[in-house]
Symmetry: C2
Subunit: 663 residues, 2 copies
């Protein structure tokens, strides 16, 4: 039986913990689980901070990261940028307080969003070495830089300045941060080098210099002078907003009327839409937002679901883009030559809990890639490579829950990481990335995000499957060709000899046996003119003349040069359509396309489709997606695998003979 003392005794122990104390004791939550990982985490926090600072100010980033060994198990990590600098009175707060920053309340696609990263790194540094962090910063309008050594006063979560001064700095503006920390330096897959390289790939406008503890400096030169389109800060989108959040916003708004509150504090709600919402909810639009009660808020949220509201604008997001995804994948591959690049996919933005986000996926397959390993999954969030906590990440989980057997990869039981010669790249861009922890290593499994990644992966999977099917059909048909062309003449010769007639012309016979339209392309590249010349031959190996349409999906970034014959339609999304002239039996047609302004590796296989002809006849192009997608969608809904391919490749020798007799 508890005496009076127990509850009282327990009460005495109750106390508040500062956020710094919390993380001092839970370093692993910030990504400091081990000395090796600590080094990467510090590099990551500093580098992301520098990139954000430059982009906030519209400056092309020039970031230099150095790691020096400064003692047994001790390193000094320094990052220097050409960002806008930080005004003196904010320096100590920005770096010396956790949960302090400028980006937390902003809905925009930034790398840092929490106000914890760099101050967490400083906290880790002082906890493991007892030493302060040195920060030097110079805004452009200052003649000198302000330099400060600080530690975080952990109990109070406030900066404690150890030393400060103004110093001359030849940099016109920028910030330099030097953090001492206990750690271990490794090379390999999860090393600072790999992190910086991956960062450079998806941030081609940044120049990143890396000075490793040993060896020469490495420069990842910028490959474009263009900053990514500046992302716009937005208000929350009304879809998926939580009731309590809405209520809190209503209590704090400066608007006097509900309709104004809706129109001003949410994205995509016009005055007209606001009125419509109020009407549907049965709440007067002139009502004071502060006076809304729970029932009224519920009615408003229900009304929001029923009213048609535009999708979020895309200018708050900054996708990597198809070209860079492909380039990034090529960079990862190095000297390895894959067989197939699935055209990267950038999906339209959607919303999770009011926050717009956008998924991008790219797949490479085959060739030199190791065939007997789990596929490599490259994860990115807001242009930051994610190197740790793969198992916790929505991206990995989405990859694991797709049945890749449908798309030509090996996968035990239809779940888990598939095996095969493939790399899958996924980028989640969002005005708020829901990380699983403050270490920002993995994206949480928010249902809306999982769903979008799933759809993007399946779409890319279908493209992969299309490629593999095309390849398999082509191989089978070629085999049939070979056999027919080798055996038929011999049979004909022998038969002719026996019956004492001359050997017949077999062209029509071969055609009849093959019964296909064979499409083959050749791509030549002129490096000087930066020109791809694509020649598409269309052989009619059927017994009748054929007239049909050819469609090609060309990269949006390419410019069209000379095209022959003239296409019927050229769409903005890269789709080009030809109404071909009739191709007679045993004859061929040809289409040539010049593509300008692409690097050689940016184009290596055309996506070809046909319409107006029975798709089974065609080898080397797919039926135009419309119907075909429908067909697939049906399988998916039924949860079945696609039906086995028709076995049109085997020769039926009886049939061959029959044809001969006919002749």
């Amino acid at each position: 039986m508890p005496s009076i003392s127990i509850a009282e005794e327990l009460a005495k122990k109750q106390r508040e913990i500062s956020i710094s104390e919390f993380f001092e004791r839970n370093k692993q939550i910030l990504g400091y689980d081990s000395p090796t990982k600590a080094l990467l985490t510090v590099v990551k926090e500093l580098c992301e901070n520098s990139l954000d600072a430059c982009e906030d100010a519209g400056i092309l980033p020039d970031v230099s990261v150095s790691i020096q060994k400064s003692g047994k198990d001790e390193f000094l990590v320094a990052a220097e940028d050409n960002g806008p600098g930080i005004v003196k009175k904010e320096v100590a707060n920005v770096f010396g307080r956790l949960l302090y920053g400028s980006r937390f309340h902003v809905l925009a696609q930034k790398r840092g969003q929490q106000g914890i990263g760099v101050s967490g790194a400083i906290l880790y540094g002082q906890t493991t070495t007892g030493k302060p962090t040195r920060i030097r910063s110079r805004p452009a309008e200052m003649d000198v830089a302000y330099e400060v050594d600080l530690i975080i006063d952990i109990r109070r979560n406030r900066p404690s300045i150890q030393k400060e001064d103004f110093v001359a700095w030849d940099k016109p503006h920028g910030t330099r941060v030097e953090i001492p920390l206990k750690s271990r330096y490794v090379t390999g897959k999860q090393s600072p080098f790999e992190y910086l390289k991956a960062t450079a790939i998806v941030n081609p406008h940044a120049r990143i210099t890396y000075l490793p503890p040993e060896g020469e400096p490495i420069v990842f030169e910028r490959v474009t002078e263009e900053l990514p389109p500046k992302t716009v800060e937005i208000k929350p989108h009304p879809y998926g907003i939580e009731l309590g959040t809405f209520l809190a916003m209503a209590k704090e708004t400066k608007s006097y009327k509900l309709s104004a509150f809706l129109a001003e504090e949410f994205s995509r709600i016009s005055a007209r839409v606001a009125k419509e919402i109020c009407e549907k909810a049965g709440v007067p639009p002139e009502m004071k937002p502060k006076s809304l009660d729970l029932q009224e808020v519920k009615a408003i949220l229900d009304a929001i679901k029923e009213v048609k509201i535009m999708a979020p604008s895309t200018d708050c997001l900054s996708p990597i883009g198809e070209k860079l995804i492909k380039k990034g994948l090529k960079n990862v591959l190095g000297a390895l030559k894959p067989e197939f690049f699935s055209p990267p996919l950038t999906r339209d933005p959607v919303v999770w809990q009011g926050n717009p986000f956008q998924i991008e996926v790219g797949i490479v397959y085959g060739g030199d890639l190791p065939p007997d390993q789990p596929v490599d999954v490259l994860r990115f969030a807001n242009r930051v490579p994610l190197l740790y906590q793969a198992g916790a990440c929505a991206i990995t989980q989405a990859v694991q829950s797709v049945d890749w057997r449908r798309y030509g990869l090996e996968q035990r039981g239809g779940e888990g990481l598939p095996y095969g010669p493939a790399i899958i790249l996924v980028h989640v861009g969002s005005v708020k990335v829901p990380y699983t922890s403050e270490a920002k290593e993995a994206v949480a499994s928010i249902p809306e995000i999982m769903e979008e990644i799933d759809l993007a992966l399946k779409e890319c999977g279908r493209r992969l499957k299309t490629h593999l099917t095309k390849k398999a059909r082509r191989a089978k048909t070629r085999e049939k060709f070979d056999i027919v062309q080798r055996i038929l003449p011999k049979i004909a010769e022998k038969s002719a000899k026996i019956v004492g007639k001359k050997v017949p012309n077999l062209d029509a016979t071969v055609t009849k046996i093959m019964g296909v339209i064979w499409i083959e392309e050749a791509i030549a590249y002129d490096a000087k003119a930066k020109k791809h010349t694509v020649t598409i031959d269309l052989h009619n190996f059927t017994s009748a003349g054929k007239k049909f349409n050819l469609h090609a999906l060309l990269p949006r970034s390419a410019k069209l040069g000379a095209v022959d014959p003239k296409p019927k339609e050229v769409r903005d999304d890269g789709k080009v359509t030809w109404e071909l002239k009739r191709i007679n039996s045993v004859e061929k047609g040809t289409v040539t396309i010049e593509l300008l302004a692409l690097d050689k590796e940016e184009y290596d296989e055309s996506e070809l489709y046909v319409s107006g002809v029975s798709p089974e006849l065609v080898i080397g192009a797919e039926p135009l997606p419309g119907d075909w997608e429908l067909e697939y969608a049906e399988f998916e809904e039924a949860g079945e695998a696609p039906p086995p391919e028709e076995d049109e490749g085997e020769i039926d020798y009886d049939e061959t003979e029959e044809v001969l007799e006919d002749d």
Copy 2:
């Protein structure tokens, strides 16, 4: 070029964020990624809080959890306990502030350690429903209960009381918390039912009642009236303490002398050890701790590494224990009958960054378990089942990095989750569990913890392998027996007929061919007397008499009844040794053991070892671990798989004939 305005403009946006605001916007970090998971997380936080409260006060927990549907997508979760209650003035703070609690600064094995869990649940509830949480609490010394409806003032991270009162409550002491939240109710693997069931299994002293939204209440009755031994709060152990942490402790200590500071604020440092540390470090023991500089602290930490300091005491930890692990696994299995229970393993406590921890592992294998699936990994931390974020967890990662092919499981490439009919249970008990996030769903990959789990898994893996090898050898030898006993008499008969002699007695011949000592056991159970009778027959099928030692590892929880013959030694850890009398060729010896006080399912196979005889001769027992472990350790270091087993099961017919001729 940035103008003066950029740095200034950015400065204007800088502001502090309250911890409540942070988590309002990052709910997923607290485990609220999806409505389904939200329900489980709330149940989990409330249940853990109740169990901790009861155990803190030395009360046998009686916890009731109910989930009621209270609207479309809305539920009310209520948890009620018989804990010590909370004094009125603390109620609002404990529940209405994040980072406020009694357990954060305490090094002891508790479920809650962060001061975030329940207040985070309340935050989620109000954010999604706009409604307050109701708390009722009554300390034993009060005649009535205090009841309060509160929400968290998010900007200030302070409780905001909506309504409060004293109410009559028939419960003499305890606390009840009712949280309304938006969620979705599911059954299945990650459901509240499964969580509560798993909790009941590893907390057999708790009575847990569950009232699901539909259907009858379910009671997990307590199976013991004994509380687990009360865990003791400890000081940090000096091994692995961080330099900065040490420095901060030295600045804050009330001790005037370094030697006193060391002896008083750390575990396992006596006055003598403190003096030794100071001497080795070359720092005067009477020095004021506050005046220590960085060099001196470094010297002290280096000295700590060199001085022999006792391992942490074990009374701060509360392992589940071998018996309960086995029981827990049986419970998970339900009606499934496995072939083999690896004896559960509780390793000695060790330290990560000054925090003692202890690993326990159990494996079941074979029988009815599904053979073609990834093994099931059951994860526990401080007696709490972990149901989410398996991929992020040190436990899963440790399982994935063991090469299970050595231990008889299927595993592609020797890494990743193995496949096979097995369940692996791992418990991490620590005075501080390093979770990967505030959701407490996964243990971070701290190297020291990974290493210990790895060792425990490999040890259990070896036991599994031993079992499988024993089984395989037995099967092969039995096959040999069958063949020999079927063929030899026929050959003998035929030979005798040909040469016209009478058929010879083949016993000696069979023996010579077999050349094994065959050990077989039978276990009978008397439910009334709660008695296992184990009969071990030792057949000498070699051509000479054999004298050797038999060893059995019996469960520590069992009591020995009659044992015949009398053992030479009975050790505390359950090891029993017999010096057997010589067993002549073709004769057998027998050992019988009575084991008392065990349930039937607690004993189903003996772990038998032999010494003083060539281990290759023995089927049905292993060589005594000492040498055998050494042998394995060598393979492991060399990174090789163990050598293939000798193929002693096949009959060499030439040899058979030779033996016949000899005769």
